[in-house]
């Protein structure tokens, strides 16, 4: 089959790879209909996450049609249209049973790497390096889905493919940030990042009752999209002093909940940006936590900061003093998609949650490399490149 493979730093190519097959009785084989690039893939492309082999199939946010099921699969049959959570849960360990699916105990086949890095191994994920299980990704004609009864979720007829693909990761990740960030009616919520996950976090905050939602970014076209589609307020940090603006908007308090949806390659400007660039180039820090610092600094006393962006290692100048002295709650997680996806699909069906605008570029899989170029370099107002194998 054809698949988009990581071939080296900033080098992805569509190639022939072996077809997937049923390896465990609970597996299914999915014919991929849509699979979208995700901002976290860029950390693989740029080599920030160094556990890739040439020939690895990337992609983890996808939907499609079931073509084959293992003998233990009871909830799906060939022909079903499903969306698949990007993190693989077994559904039966302590973490899955407590709706903390990305922390699954039983799905990372290479646990030693992340145990050494982080002290414990999270669950496996499709197409996201050998540190996360080495599972083949979804930018392919077919993909194997383990523990399919738990990880593949039927799509209601009222939800079209292009809406549903974002229920795989962007929408549940964004919802999780607002939900576990504790957004309540009347809150002011600030979101750093107006990509797909940031926009989903902003919309989720609205749906959970936030009175004001402010999105921060530097790309006007993305901020305009968030404004136009969801009616949020926006701030461009290249033109506005974010701290002063947020204090003015919140009567001097600061936002109740700050959601970081940027990740380990955050951009900034001035001395802070230069400092982090030098430190990361010298490998003295692995990640650039600029948006996290800003979120912590600007959050109101006693507020909550939720880190949604992907980080891999260690950071420098982490403002622990602000966290402690302002009494902040700091939370973070990879997405617990299975917990939210059915509810989000219902909201998509009812029209509450719009996602198709995120798919600014729908391309054949054969144009995968071009899609990532558009996405990475923010060319042609790209928000997401979505591939159709």
């Amino acid at each position: 089959m054809r698949a988009l493979c990581w071939e080296g730093v900033n080098d992805v190519r569509v190639q022939d790879v072996p077809d997937p097959r049923i390896l465990n009785d609970g597996d299914l084989i999915l014919k991929v209909r849509l699979s979208t690039a995700c901002g976290s893939d860029l950390h693989l492309l740029t080599g920030h996450i160094p556990f890739m082999q040439a020939g690895d199939v990337i992609g983890h946010e996808f939907m499609g049609e079931v073509v084959e099921v293992g003998p233990d699969v009871t909830r799906h049959k060939p022909g079903d249209r499903v969306v698949v959570a990007s993190f693989i849960g077994c559904g039966q360990c302590y973490y899955c049973r407590n709706d903390l699916w990305s922390l699954c105990d039983n799905t990372n086949t290479n646990p030693g790497i992340t145990q050494a890095l982080w002290g414990a191994d999270p669950g496996g994920i499709f197409g996201y390096s050998h540190a996360m299980g080495g599972f083949k990704g979804s930018h392919a004609e077919y993909v194997r889905v383990p523990f399919a009864d738990h990880n593949a979720i039927p799509i209601p007829d009222a939800v079209d493919d292009l809406s549903a693909v974002f229920a795989s990761d962007s929408a549940p990740t964004g919802w999780m940030g607002a939900d576990l960030g504790g957004v309540r009616p009347g809150d002011v919520v600030a979101v750093w990042g107006s990509g797909a996950v940031g926009q989903m976090a902003a919309r989720s905050a609205q749906l959970l009752g936030a009175e004001r939602v402010v999105v921060v970014d530097r790309f006007d076209y993305r901020l305009r999209q968030a404004e136009n589609v969801f009616g949020v307020e926006t701030l461009n940090y290249e033109h506005v002093d974010i701290g002063a603006a947020l204090r003015e908007m919140t009567g001097g308090r600061g936002p109740d909940v700050c959601i970081e949806a940027v990740g380990c390659e955050a951009h900034s400007y001035g001395p802070q940006h230069a400092y982090d660039q030098v430190k990361s180039k010298l490998k003295l820090e692995t990640d650039r936590p600029i948006a996290v610092r800003e979120a912590i600094h600007n959050c109101r006393k006693g507020g909550t900061v939720f880190v949604l962006g992907v980080f891999s290692g260690v950071v420098d100048k982490f403002p622990l003093g602000a966290v402690m002295n302002k009494g902040l709650t700091l939370r973070a997680a990879q997405q617990h998609g299975q917990r939210y996806i059915p509810m989000l699909l219902d909201r998509m069906a009812s029209g509450e949650l719009t996602t198709t605008h995120l798919a600014t570029h729908v391309l054949p899989l054969e144009e995968g490399a071009r899609g990532y170029q558009l996405f990475k370099d923010k060319q042609d107002d790209c928000v997401r490149a979505v591939f159709r194998p």
């Binding site: 086949t109 646990p111 030693g112 050998h130």
Partner: protein, 143 residues
Amino acid sequence: MNTTMRAIAVTGVGAAVAVGRRMTARRRELHRDRSDHWLAVTIDRSMDAVTGPARLPGPMGELGGRVEVRFRPAPGGRGTEVLAAPQDDDVSREDLRVALRKTKSLLETGTVIRPDTPPTTHPGPAGKVLRLVVGKSAREGRL
């Protein structure tokens, strides 16, 4: 080199050697201490479900009397803690760790998830190095 410089150099080298020896001794002590600890895993199933059958399933059952195994209920109703230590020089802590992990998966899910194969068709030199790391990663680490 004058006498003062020579004295500083000798002192510096001596200090570095002393620090290095101390660090090495500390590492050895930690390694010995680590080997003294039991390996442990928590299975999200009741004591009855874990200890009911005549022996543990899968790799732990196959190890049989070559390992000593203890059970205790996890606090807060979080299942059963299984602790194990090799009783036979042929059983490494790494093998035991893998056995515990697979047995936990068998008891919780009825299976052990298999990695996608082949991992890639053309890993390249860097990928081959990574394969060595990955091969080792299944064996070492924390439970």
